[in-house]
């Protein structure tokens, strides 16, 4: 029975893998069938998400590979969340899905995320992280509309490689001090006073910071986000971030956090919040602005680790869901244009309300939610995190974080200001919004409303 359980445990991954295999096969068999590639990838992701959710709800837990890979309801739920967030991403990537490799790369990356969320050892974690990242380096320039994309990809790759090396260095020091490459060694090292262990912890945390774009390890993010096509930016902003953070939750477990590390876990995220929010204020590129916004949000997310160990998953998961949906809502509603650069310019949003009222309202909702203004989900998410931080006694950090979040309000409002209050009508050749994109928008909208109206229900189920 063991291998059956193993198979079930990895069922989401298997679905994704099947999708990959099918796609590769399809590509060699019928290179022209773009529709098929899209449908296959969509089916794979939906199936994987559904299975993960179902397994999670049924309370399935199994250590498929002792010390390396195990699933439990939480891990499965995390996978379900990430995979579900990938559905709108796929829906809005009709144009890009035309590129043959796109779907394969996306599925591979998702496979990596799933792996990441089940990892029990640094080996698996490392592989998951790489599998998650490597395809994205290519995805950044897969829809090569701008020469600059390559530059963004390179920066992402080099700093991503640095992150890998840093993670490995940390893992190796952990290994050296504790004799184990199991993830649990990290939790133990967190409370250890051993200098080597704490150095290891710092290095591992830095690697996660690099992946999640926490100041000062954030610098790749604005450039890569701007370089990437819209769906990939959305993918990076939501799923990569969600994967990294949820993996971090798994890494930290419920281990308590002691002062020196706690400060690192507070000061740099705080810096991110402030930096991200300030730097976003003067951006002219929508994606770049979202990049800085995501830097700030990564800060909030890492704040969750200051909180009590048991609440971290809930806080991060809720935040990731709310934040992901909001970003996707914004990206899905972003009107399409012939010219990618023009589409990206914030100026092209001016007067959007008069051209596309629905899109404008959707983007406005997304912006307000990202700004943490109630009644939108972003507020409850932020509340949850800061509540935990307060409860853990980090009052000063919590207050500073909140004040930092205040700085972000302006640039989100600026987008709304452009859309609603500007009478200018920029010359943008727009294309009509596809049905799938609209579907993604509605999906996000429904979820937004659901979370806004029943946050209690959502929290109870996380």
């Amino acid at each position: 029975m063991n291998w059956v359980d193993s198979a079930i445990a990895m069922l989401p991954e298997h679905f994704l893998l099947a999708g990959i295999v099918l796609l590769v096969a399809l590509q060699s068999a019928a290179p022209a069938r773009k529709e098929g590639a899209f449908l296959v990838s969509l089916a794979a992701v939906v199936a994987a998400a559904a299975v993960a959710a179902w397994l999670s709800l049924s309370g399935f837990a199994f250590a498929a590979f002792t010390d390396h890979y195990s699933v439990g309801p939480a891990a499965l739920l995390a996978k379900a969340i990430v995979l579900a967030l990938a559905v709108p991403v796929l829906l809005i990537s009709r144009d890009e899905a035309g590129e043959r490799a796109y779907s394969v790369l996306l599925l591979s990356s998702l496979y990596g995320v799933c792996l990441l969320l089940s990892a029990d050892s640094f080996l698996t974690l490392f592989l998951g992280l790489e599998l998650m990242s490597l395809p994205v380096y290519a995805l950044v320039l897969v829809d090569y509309r701008r020469p600059r994309s390559a530059e963004g990809a390179l920066k992402y790759l080099v700093l991503g490689g640095t992150a890998t090396a840093t993670l490995l260095m940390g893992a190796s020091l952990l290994y050296g001090s504790g004799g184990s490459l199991a993830l649990s060694a990290f939790g133990a090292a967190l409370s250890s006073s051993d200098a080597m262990a704490s150095a290891a912890v710092v290095l591992v945390v830095v690697a996660f910071y690099l992946k999640a774009a926490i100041v000062p390890f954030h610098a790749w993010a604005p450039d890569a986000y701007e370089a990437a096509p819209v769906p990939v930016t959305a993918y990076m902003a939501t799923i990569i971030k969600a994967g990294v953070l949820l993996a971090a939750v798994r890494l930290f477990g419920s281990a308590p956090i002691a002062p020196p590390i706690a400060d690192v876990l507070a000061i740099l995220p705080l810096l991110s919040i402030v930096w991200g929010n300030l730097a976003a204020m003067r951006q002219q590129s929508f994606r770049r602005m979202i990049a800085y916004s995501s830097i700030a949000h990564a800060g909030y997310l890492f704040y969750a680790f200051l909180g009590d160990g048991d609440g971290r998953f809930q806080a991060v998961a809720f935040y990731v869901v709310a934040y992901g949906i909001m970003n996707l809502l914004a990206f899905a509603s972003l009107p399409r244009a012939e010219d990618d650069i023009a589409r990206d310019r914030l100026d092209s949003l001016k007067g959007l309300f008069h051209r596309k009222p629905f899109a404008a309202v959707m983007i406005a909702i997304a912006m307000l939610s990202l700004a943490g203004i109630p009644p939108f989900p972003g507020f409850v998410a932020k509340f949850l995190i800061f509540r935990n931080v307060f409860a853990a006694g980090y009052t000063v950090y919590a207050v500073l974080g909140l004040v930092g979040s205040y700085l972000g309000i302006y640039f989100y409002l600026r987008v709304i200001q452009y859309m609603f209050m500007s009478t200018e009508e920029p010359e943008v050749k727009q294309r009509s919004t596809g049905g799938l994109t609209l579907g993604a928008t509605f999906l996000c909208l429904v979820l937004t409303v659901a979370i806004a109206v029943f946050p209690g229900w959502v929290i109870d189920h996380l």
Binding site: G309, G311, F313, P375, F390, A391, V403, F420, G456
Partner: protein, 538 residues
């Protein structure tokens, strides 16, 4: 329909209004206007019904709804009417149709969005007033910003972007600190009493050391003081008022500013009574400074709307003074002053809007002798001016008189005991009455009297629609001026409760004192801050 259902209906009627507006066919602005007015009137009628059925002799909440909402945090969807909010809810519902009707001709751009935003604002304001759970309160409180941001920013005047950003960023800054305080407060309640709850009633029992109370009070007070606004946190107000469209100004002055004073009364002061008592002189001073400072600035404005805006600062100062007096008469006066200012300032802004629609300027110097040009308009304007001055028989008098009497009554014993300062304060506040007459009459004199001039001639006097709006306000003004007893009876128990709460000594750290009375109903376990989900991450 059950009692609680009625209140829910009133609260969610604006949401229904938004939904209705969305489904209306495009380019049928007249339909949108008519529908909005109908919904608003229905809302007012229902609210009036609530008001009539509100039993003044009962303490506590009426028409209460309490449903678990975020069970894990002890957050309940809890709304209800009590003496604190009953008048303000009525005021909000009353101004609703007037705002809608007042914007019929003024708003020609994006009509659908405009009325949707007005409804959203109405929803948020009603929600803020009726919320009995701090989380829900905060939710509504913040939500208010969004529609107003758009209303000022889209339909406002020339510097609307500046004004609306200033307003939102200013207000949001206060809110963010309040949010910190809210979380900390709830957390403290949990650690001292073991109760996890956001319900006002539970939070009133939190026992905090004075230093903590002080810090939390400062955070709450900052947020509320910005909203009131209290000098020196007021500079957003003139800009917001001036740039906002008429409807925005009316709502801003009529209801929104009361959020601040309501917050002080319902939350900031009763939650942290010991700190409040300690800092009452500071708040009193700020209140009096606001009264005088606002009046002085109103005196030197050349923009009509700014005069009224600064007068609002002055008038809200009375409310604050009444609240910090902790005297029953003063508190009741503050209540009356809140409603009165809502009516009077709202009415004045409506009137300014009417003249602005005709002449497209707000420069006072452009006008003169309107009494000749627009006799009916002028009569209404004069009446509102007098109410603003606080002439007896108008609502303004009721408020100011009771506030000043209360403040004096509270200050005098201290004076006899040797503390001159409170006495100086209340005497200075009385000076505000003089200044109030000075700037308003100066304004009315330039505006209504003298040689007739206006930028656009000839002017059409106000229409039946406008007359009806103003007549409704005037009627309310005189109702409160002549017969304030009936409304005050409904607020009396709340005023007493407020007085008692603030008078309580609550620095005690005795944990056991309140432990025996769990507030949560059976079924929802009083949760500690640690969350129940934990196990899954392992």
């Amino acid at each position: 329909m059950g009692d609680a259902g009625l209140l829910n209906l009133v609260l969610f009627l604006p949401v229904a209004g938004i939904a209705a507006i969305i489904v209306l066919p495009p380019r049928r602005d007249d339909l949108v206007r008519g529908l909005s007015l109908a919904v608003m009137i229905a809302g007012f009628v229902l609210t009036a019904l609530l008001y009539v059925r509100y039993d003044a002799s009962l303490d506590g909440l009426q028409f209460e709804t309490r449903l678990p909402w975020i069970a894990a945090w002890g957050v309940y969807y809890q709304i209800g009417l009590d003496g604190y909010n009953v008048l303000l809810v009525l005021l909000t519902a009353f101004l609703g149709p007037l705002v809608v009707a007042g914007a019929f001709t003024a708003i020609q751009k994006d009509v659908k969005l405009f009325y949707a935003m007005v409804f959203a604002l109405q929803f948020a304001m009603l929600g803020t007033f009726v919320a009995q759970d701090l989380f829900v309160f905060y939710l509504f409180w913040e939500t208010m910003l969004v529609p107003l941001f758009l209303i000022i920013g889209i339909w406002g005047g020339e510097r609307r972007i500046y004004a609306t950003l200033k307003f939102v960023l200013y207000t949001a800054f206060g809110s963010i600190l309040m949010l910190a305080a809210v979380i900390y407060l709830v957390y403290s309640l949990n650690t001292t009493t073991g109760i996890t709850s956001f319900a006002f009633a539970d939070l009133y029992r939190a026992e905090l050391p004075l230093s903590v109370q002080t810090v939390l009070l400062a955070a709450f007070a900052l947020s509320f003081a910005i909203k009131v606004p209290i000098v020196p946190l007021h500079t957003w107000l003139p800009d917001a008022h001036v740039e906002a469209p008429t409807a925005g100004s009316v709502i801003l002055a009529g209801v929104l500013l009361k959020m601040g004073t309501y917050g002080f009364m319902k939350l900031a002061f009763p939650l942290f009574p010991d700190a409040t008592r300690l800092f009452a002189p500071v708040f009193g001073t700020l209140a009096v400074v606001s009264i005088i400072y606002g009046a002085c600035l109103a005196l030197v404005q050349t923009d009509i709307k700014k005069i009224i805006a600064y007068s609002s600062i002055s008038h809200l100062g009375y409310v604050m003074l009444g609240l910090v007096s902790l005297d029953l008469i003063g508190i009741q006066g503050a209540m009356m002053q809140m409603v009165s200012h809502g009516l009077v300032a709202g009415g004045l802004f409506l009137m300014v809007g009417m003249i602005y629609e005709r002449c497209h300027t707000r420069e006072l110097a452009a006008y003169g002798g309107l009494a000749k040009l627009l006799p009916v308009y002028s009569v209404f304007f004069a009446l509102l001016t007098l109410a603003s001055i606080g002439l007896p028989t108008t609502s303004g008098f009721t408020g100011e008189f009771l506030v000043l009497l209360g403040a004096f009554r509270a200050a005098w014993p201290q004076y006899v005991d040797g503390a001159v300062y409170p006495m100086v304060l209340s005497a200075s506040a009385v000076l505000g009455v003089v200044l109030g007459a000075l700037y308003m009459l100066w304004f009315a004199q330039r505006f209504l009297f003298g040689a007739a001039k206006a930028p656009h001639l000839p002017l059409a006097d106000i229409t039946l629609r406008e007359k009806s709006i103003l007549a409704a306000i005037i009627a309310a003004v005189f109702w409160l001026g002549l017969f304030p007893d009936e409304p005050m009876r409904k607020t009396e128990l709340a005023a007493r409760q407020y007085q008692q709460l603030v008078a309580e000594e609550r620095t005690g750290v005795s944990v056991s004192a309140h432990r025996s009375e769990p507030s949560s109903p059976p079924g929802s376990s009083p949760l500690p801050v640690t969350l129940p989900v934990s196990s899954r991450t392992k």
